[in-house]
Symmetry: C2
Subunit: 332 residues, 2 copies
């Protein structure tokens, strides 16, 4: 499913440049006479879906319309002709995304695409939809810069993402410090190596932590756990009575975290430590939420790569997924 | 934080009767002249929040308006005066729920409550909001029957939940088989005991699996992992390259699962087994989705209780949460 001779290290090293390049990608302007949307759904699975989830988390507190990521083959019932539906599939052939998109077409939604081609690219061309066009041939998860910033550019053009957010994103890309991300990612990898990893942050960080988990899954071949504050304080915290020194809690902390949750994190970190677990606090660099988001993505990518290299597993290989897709395609 | 001498076994044994009784709870009828809502938000944390999450999952594919569970202190930006906001807090004093509710009041939302009293009960009385009134004094997680069915009754009265769903729920309660749930829950506990538990199901089952996780957390003092199909096939599956016989995958399977996902589950279960993990398939009883939901909740409750008893831990005790709340309250 992936091209030979791809170096995940080179792809991750190039993430900053990929983001800078993505900012130059031209996105077709949406029709000038459109009505305001009732809501937005961003369809996508895995590495093609996480950008929509991150965007939804980033705008949840402020967007006057629901912006929802859909990582499923079923379209939510409320998505109708007054909604914008963006289908994000790197290959353009993701089964679940195409199924949900088909339903969106039937309902008469305004449509757009983020893709390198495939069936999705063909339908977008045919329909004249706005498209974020990506070069193909790489693992979808390595194209987060292009897919996420492309999605943001698209939603900025549709006036779903504010000018202020878009400017903050552009400044964030310009400020990214590649060597620093690599260094902090490597230190993080060393700190969690050999332990069962539990990733925690404030609620709006859930999708960013999920990106970290997905990279640990696919690049490092590791299982990891994501939960968020304040909800985890009402249940998972008690499960830590059986936590111990085999566990490591990675706590993503930013100045954006709710003041009460900052206090909850202090108290909870102490509980983890009392159980014998290591607690690693990660504080992303950047002067805005958007800048810190991009920094944290890159640090997480490095963590997953270094863990793969230290364990001597191939970060590109995803043979379990290839096996699944091959078996599924024989049952079309 | 909880009354002395509470037996979690008695509370779980009584869940069927609790549900039957909850169906008789009278809910104040909403005003007859109300306008259709733009969307619904159900606020709640932990055991008081999971009912809203389950309801949102159950209606996602069919509801013509977004129904969103909010387990956070921050209200989503899109929730406005055209929305219904239900605050669910068993104690009526949950900090996060009251914070989000305060914002909902400022925005002029239509309001309702599910509570045993506290500050929420007082404000609901003062405002004349529809209230699902619960008896107090028990652990919130033991009151799922009352809080979930009360929420459903409320949303049925507001015409958010359809007559057909409500009737299916009532039939589901009548059909519940207590001894069978206990027996299947005990068998499930024995099958997962001593292993690291990974809970899986189709996307609309996420919140039900989350309920299982929460019960494992709070009653059994265990950590567990929840992910869903088809998304887990795009990332977490690869993490299973490091899975082994110390892991057990619990696969919740129902006739409602998407046909393609049923196939994905077959293939994935084989991958788990090839890694040495046990795979336990759970198929809830019942003739509708709603009946199967209630059955599965009860089975999961039993699983968590039996695991607690076999490990000789107190299923009622939640000292880590008590410690957190006490420390937080000294920083009000």
């Amino acid at each position: 499913m992936t091209a030979p001779n791809i170096s995940m290290r080179q792809l991750i090293e190039g993430l900053g440049a990929q983001m800078a390049e993505a900012l130059k990608v031209s996105v077709m302007r949406p029709p000038a006479d459109r009505k305001p949307f009732r809501g937005v759904a961003v369809l996508g699975m895995g590495g093609s879906g996480i950008g929509g989830a991150v965007l939804a988390d980033m705008v949840r507190a402020t967007s006057p319309m629901p912006v929802q990521a859909v990582s499923d083959q079923v379209l939510p019932g409320w998505v109708d002709a007054d909604c914008l539906v963006v289908a994000s599939s790197y290959s353009g052939n993701t089964e679940e995304t195409l199924a949900a998109l088909k339903e969106a077409e039937l309902r008469g939604c305004t449509l757009a695409a983020v893709t390198s081609g495939g069936a999705l690219g063909a339908r977008a061309d045919e329909g004249g939809w706005p498209v974020v066009q990506m070069p193909g041939g790489n693992p979808p998860r390595s194209q987060f810069g292009r897919s996420f910033l492309g999605l943001c550019a698209l939603l900025h053009a549709f006036e779903v993402l504010s000018d202020a957010s878009w400017e903050a994103l552009k400044r964030g890309v310009a400020q990214l410090d590649g060597p620093s991300c690599a260094e902090r990612g490597e230190a993080l990898a060393q700190a969690v190596e050999g332990k069962k990893v539990y990733l925690y942050g404030d609620t709006p960080m859930r999708s960013l932590l999920t990106r970290w988990r997905q990279q640990l899954n696919e690049n490092s071949k590791l299982l990891a756990n994501v939960e968020v504050f304040p909800e985890m304080n009402h249940n998972e915290l008690v499960g830590w009575e059986s936590g111990n020194e085999a566990c490591v809690a990675v706590l993503l902390r930013t100045p954006d975290d709710h003041a009460r949750t900052q206090l909850r994190m202090d108290i909870t970190a102490k509980v983890f430590q009392d159980q014998g677990a290591d607690v690693i606090v990660v504080e992303p660099d950047g002067d805005t939420r958007w800048a810190r988001l991009l920094d944290a993505v890159w640090v997480g990518d490095w963590m997953s790569l270094v863990l793969a290299e230290r364990a001597d597993v191939d970060p590109v290989d995803i043979r379990f997924i290839d096996h699944l897709k091959n078996t599924l395609s024989s049952h079309a």
